[in-house]
Symmetry: C2
Subunit: 280 residues, 2 copies
């Protein structure tokens, strides 16, 4: 486990998000510029391991990166800067929005199952099944018994994923309300960012303490050995991106991916090419 995972893997037990500094960078003491360069430097190994994962797709292994966090916490930035270090051919990104009528007519995990990455790919969930115990809990769109049922359903679901060969990397992008305020103001000040803003964002922001409670409970209840949570200090974008780069690297390295050995006779094939008729 990297020092990044050690620093940010959530320990078992009750969760107090106020005790985790959203601006901290405990696993890296370089500057912003150095941190950005350090992330870039992970690119070649990440790209190599992604290709090895794909090459080994017959093994059934894959990786699922789950990104959760309050609005402006930077899920899109992680996609662009960290996930963008590997070939898009090796990545399946799903951005979960408000469920459709069809999705609402099924259990909350139905649309999640459909979005799982195939073997050999890195799946990324930009928001996820955790919305169903976060926004849904905060707004009381489901009753307490149903929310309670969902924590366990999530754990069973994720255990099944892990058992079937998926490495699940769960990341909560932890920002401070002050940083969110600053990012929302920056959006409002920049006409090229207005499309990212919705007045409803401020209504949700006003529910910050309720969201924090919902996160704390969800993190505690679903922080399993099979699929542990990481709480990523995200007030500094470069640190957030760097930590997740390392978590992705840890996941891929942990698979110990070797290049598949040829199941054909290499010399025979070379000879066939050497002996072929000229192509007109």
């Amino acid at each position: 486990m990297s020092s990044f995972a050690q620093a940010h893997r959530l320990p078992a037990g009750p969760v107090d998000l106020t005790a985790i500094d959203p601006a901290g960078h405990p696993a890296y003491d370089g500057s912003k510029e150095e941190g950005e360069a350090a992330l870039e430097a992970l690119g070649p190994e990440l790209a190599d391991l992604q290709e090895r994962l794909y090459a080994n797709k017959e093994s059934g292994r894959n990786v699922l990166l789950v990104l959760q966090g309050m609005d402006t916490s930077g899920k899109g930035g992680v996609l662009e800067h960290t996930v963008g270090l590997v070939s898009p051919a090796g990545v399946k990104v799903t951005s979960f929005k408000a469920p459709t009528d069809e999705e609402k007519a099924h259990d909350f995990l139905w649309r999640i199952e459909k979005a799982l990455p195939p073997a050999g790919l890195i799946g990324v969930f930009d928001r996820s099944h955790f919305e169903d115990v976060l926004i849904v809990k905060v707004h009381e769109w489901a009753d307490a018994a149903e929310i309670e049922r969902r924590y366990e359903a999530i754990n069973v679901f994720e255990q099944k994923l892990v058992d079937s060969g998926t490495i699940v990397v769960k990341c909560m992008l932890h920002i401070s309300p002050e940083e969110q305020k600053s990012r929302l103001l920056a959006r409002l000040d920049d006409p090229t960012k207005h499309w990212k803003f919705n007045p409803g964002d401020l209504d949700e922001r006003a529910l910050w303490p309720a969201y924090r409670d919902a996160y704390e409970i969800a993190l505690e209840r679903t922080n399993t050995a099979a699929a542990p949570w990481h709480v990523i200090p995200s007030d500094r974008k470069w640190y957030r991106n760097l930590v997740i780069g390392h978590l992705l690297l840890d996941a891929l390295r942990g698979l110990d991916l070797q290049w598949p050995v040829a199941d054909f006779d290499v010399e025979v094939e070379k000879q066939r090419l050497a002996d072929e008729e000229p192509i007109a």
Copy 2:
């Protein structure tokens, strides 16, 4: 239209692939290193336009990049080096393999429809519906009348796509049989590339003239004004990637994507943030 599109958009009429130099680089006379740097230099504008496309998803517009070519022609390389210049969150890549039993039980366009990009995204087809008039024709897995039907069905399908707001960019990655031989030998010489090789690749290679014929007919029959073909000289990987970068840029620029104007009162929202109660 960029000089790259001008150089490589296929003119109407019969197609003679032997008249197009696969090693040519008519739209760019710099060196390989310069060409690679020129592609990298497209990155910021491509990323900006991809974000604008996403921001405008309500408009229903999107882009579909279709990559076709013989084995080793570099579809994966285009994905990594050209498509990889934009955020993976804005891209939906579909790699078409041999159809499944379920897919075979439907019309050949059924799985293609399902893989179309949603509004706001750049879809990329790594192989496509054209396999159904290429490998299928070469191996006579469908009769002549069915192949004939498919050309027109493809044109109707693509016209519908274009009418509904999709820019379709069709690229045939044109390599020489000599270059393919060299790339196949390189794969055989490198144990980290053996997984990409299949003895069946040499059986297909032996059918090169039949594939060339099938490509020439398919290109001619489906080279419509709505969705024209580009034949990209692909013996030089850097030139292939650069041309497709420019074609993607042309497509996105052609959409004239403006940042959406706020549908809320920006000053009111700023004031709400300024007036809010402190978040505990």
